[in-house]
Symmetry: C2
Subunit: 237 residues, 2 copies
């Protein structure tokens, strides 16, 4: 895995949202509360991504919340009495909307902003999800919350990263993508960005995807590994 | 769901391979045999598709077997002693390669071929998987076993269906895609094909995908729902 030599000449950081900023672990207990096995939480989220990527590959990107809600029905309908289905789907969507940020997010964003880096989020869901999470983290360090809804394709299609770069006004090689999901970093690397894997759980990297430039187990460990553009120049320039 | 009014003017049928022809249920017990929970079989296969679609969306389609093997390592490494990992991955790949066809496949193919329809398979894996399954089904009714490896993109990207049509020499509207996977039928419908959902388990259709033209619970229930091109014309024409 990465040697974690500092990435140089960085001017901006793009952060993924779901699971990267939000702590989705409460979803397992929420599935149990409606009478479904806890492990369905992981399967459900994986199927939302699978079908979202399928629609992007087919040239017709979907709406994240529509996929999330429709995916819950597919998972739960075979398991629950039909009278409970609508209420259970609503309850799980409410839990998802109410998720909080990981505790390393606020200090991690602060450390990156203090280095002079411009920070944006880029999620496959709506921009409001990121705004709510950043409010809960009590963080005002993010410059803009972006959604692929304005890019015409979900990550990891190249258009999604190109859209973030156009909003930032940066070149790919001075922009670092941060995510917990290997497929996101693979797509960002193919679009020319530098990549940092936030691997909180010590998971193995999938050998078939492009390895990240950096690996950290907490967001607040990232800032020291990024050398900011022009930071080696004499001060006062 | 579909009214199951017969689809008219059909000349060819394209069949998906994994789970549509092969019975993947033995994978659950195989995961248990190596010391992992049975439900990981479904999660693993979903993640293979998720990452395969991600790579296609990113413009760089992957190799199915490489993704399947690498995905097993990602699922199993956190659970198994490291000495057991390679052997367990090999064992699960061998189980996957040794899967047999569903019992409705051979009679279903026979009935379609007897109507004069040209049959091909189109899988996201190698063509050899389909050939092995058809040998095990003792069926010689399939004209050609196609793989997306020759299409430059995994299903459900439009190039994959266009490749099958080019091999068949048929127009989309006279060609029926048959699959258990809703994302495959959605992609085929967007490419202009007619679609038949093989829904053996009575699962709900995801509301966010294009509904299929037909739904059957066994492959051998499909032939009576297809009106073959020219079949209403006087014989001897």
């Amino acid at each position: 895995m990465p040697r974690n030599e500092p990435v140089t000449d960085v001017s901006a950081v793009v952060l993924d949202v779901n699971e990267t900023i939000s702590d989705t672990r409460p979803m397992a207990a929420a599935f149990e509360r409606v009478g479904a096995p806890a492990h369905l939480a992981t399967l459900w989220f994986g199927c939302v991504l699978r079908d979202g990527f399928a629609l992007t590959a087919a040239g017709s990107p979907g709406d994240f919340e529509e996929l999330a809600r429709g995916g819950l029905r597919v998972q739960l309908e075979p398991l629950l009495p039909s009278d409970d289905l609508d209420r259970s789907v609503d309850e799980l969507m409410a839990t998802f909307a109410g998720l909080g940020p990981h505790p390393d997010v606020a200090p991690g964003l602060r450390a990156l902003a203090e280095r002079g880096l411009v920070l944006v989020t880029l999620g496959n869901g709506p921009a409001s999800t990121a705004r709510t999470l950043l409010e809960r983290a009590n963080s005002d360090d993010v410059h803009e919350t972006l959604s692929v809804d304005d890019a015409g394709a979900w990550k990891p299609a190249p258009q999604a990263y190109a859209y973030a770069l156009s909003r930032l006004g940066t070149v790919p090689s001075s922009t670092v993508m941060v995510a917990v999901h290997p497929w996101d970093l693979d797509g960002a690397a193919r679009a020319g960005l530098r990549t940092a894997w936030l691997n909180r759980d010590g998971r193995p990297w999938p050998a078939y995807l492009r390895a990240p430039d950096l690996e950290v187990d907490r967001l607040d460990a990232l800032a020291p590994l990024l050398q900011v553009s022009g930071s080696s120049a004499p001060s006062g320039a």
